[in-house]
Amino acid sequence: MAAAAAPMTIKMKACCGYGGIKAMEIRWATRKEYSSKVSTKLKPRIPIFISTNPSHINPQELRDLYGICNHSCHRFPKMDKMGKLVEPVDIKRLSVALSHSALLVSVFCNEEDVLASDDDCGNESEPSKGETPPVLGLGDLLHRVVPLPVVSPSTGMLVGFGRAVSDHGLTASIFDVMVIPSLRGMGIGTMIVKRIIRILTSRDIYDIAALCSANERLFFKACGFGDDIMGSTTMMYTRTLSTHIEGDQMFKYAGRKLLLVPPLRQSS
């Protein structure tokens, strides 16, 4: 499907930037020294721009970020044999999801601080683009002259994201937390989750859930999440084609899962 030519705006019903919490700010992301897998060409410390302002998010850029991170909005997405997603996120539905999320967090950084290859951080033979930028623009001159970090959503690259859905009263759920592969391990993901929690708790919402696949569990544990204190069981609707049910069965696709729509019952 073709992406819309005109930039789509996300209509947000919630206000942001209140109660003393900044809607956007510049932070530093530091790579831990002890990680031996990290290439020496990666910068140890980069300025990042973290924002909760939804107008900073470009839907197409966000859709591309989902692709780079190989993250799907479906919990059971269609994947090829290598585990890579088969189709990109539907941008229209993504915009709907964003406009109905209580909170959107986006993280930007300067393009030269990100390595070119998104799937191979440790490629030593490739010259690092971070050290010799091909063209000296004003931004680069500023970097050399002014010691202050200069990152903004308009000039920077979207490298991290997270959102929360809430009923604005009792509960909230965190979805789609992602950071591009080459910038992982620098605390950006944790920063995103902490920001979400800080804002939700400032809105007096303390019941915050995150649905995690097995490989996401450690990350959320590090962010202060744990199993339900009441011992509840997480369950998802997965009912599909049944040979036991007679008659017509209506289905809906959710990623690679074919879900049975419960039939209308006759009232007695």
Partner: protein, 241 residues
Amino acid sequence: MLTLNVVAPPSILPKFSAQPSKHQFNYINYRLANTGRRKLKVSRLRSNFWESIRSGFLKDNSTQVVESPSTLEEVEELQPEEFVLVEKTEEDGVVEQIIFSSGGDVDIYDLQTLCDKVGWPRRPLSKLDAALKNSYMVATLHSIRKSPGSEGNDQKKLIGMARATSDHAFNATIWDVLVDPSYQGQGLGKTLVEKIIRALLQRDIGNITLFADSQVVEFYRNLGFEPDPEGIKGMFWYPKY
């Protein structure tokens, strides 16, 4: 005998402040003012929408995989339904009807009474109110008892509720499923949940999740829910002091 008593009660944090700050309350009002969800928007595409769903059913009995088309932008608001689910006439001529409604008109005090009946801890009313108003769908069951010759003095009682939050596109979580203990065991809870699933799937919202108490895991399993599918688990935030 299944006890359809309780799904994991969502927020159980008596430690934290129950009094919303003044600023907090203003924020809630802002949201309520701007959420026109409770206003019934009659979509001009309504008949087409339901027709396209119905046309998916074939006349013969073969199992058909049908993907019904989902209209997205135009049918932005959920179409509320209300109908009589069960009607019973008792010996003394009293007619009792159980009405299903997805319009979300819930009296907060009735709901609190119902929560007390099933033994749930009390939650601040303002939070409960906000949660209901900002839920994607609130399904309720009311019992209406009409005595013969009472001339419209019907007794209306809230006997069941379920709600779901959603981002309207991919994810939904079902919370607060409860049925009055004296009405349990009749399949009413099942109806509530199935209605919600149906409404969600018809909008292509495919990630339907809930957090079930141990005594109701079987109930949800029978409705098509699977525990920890493919290792997916819910985790909850715990503040560290």
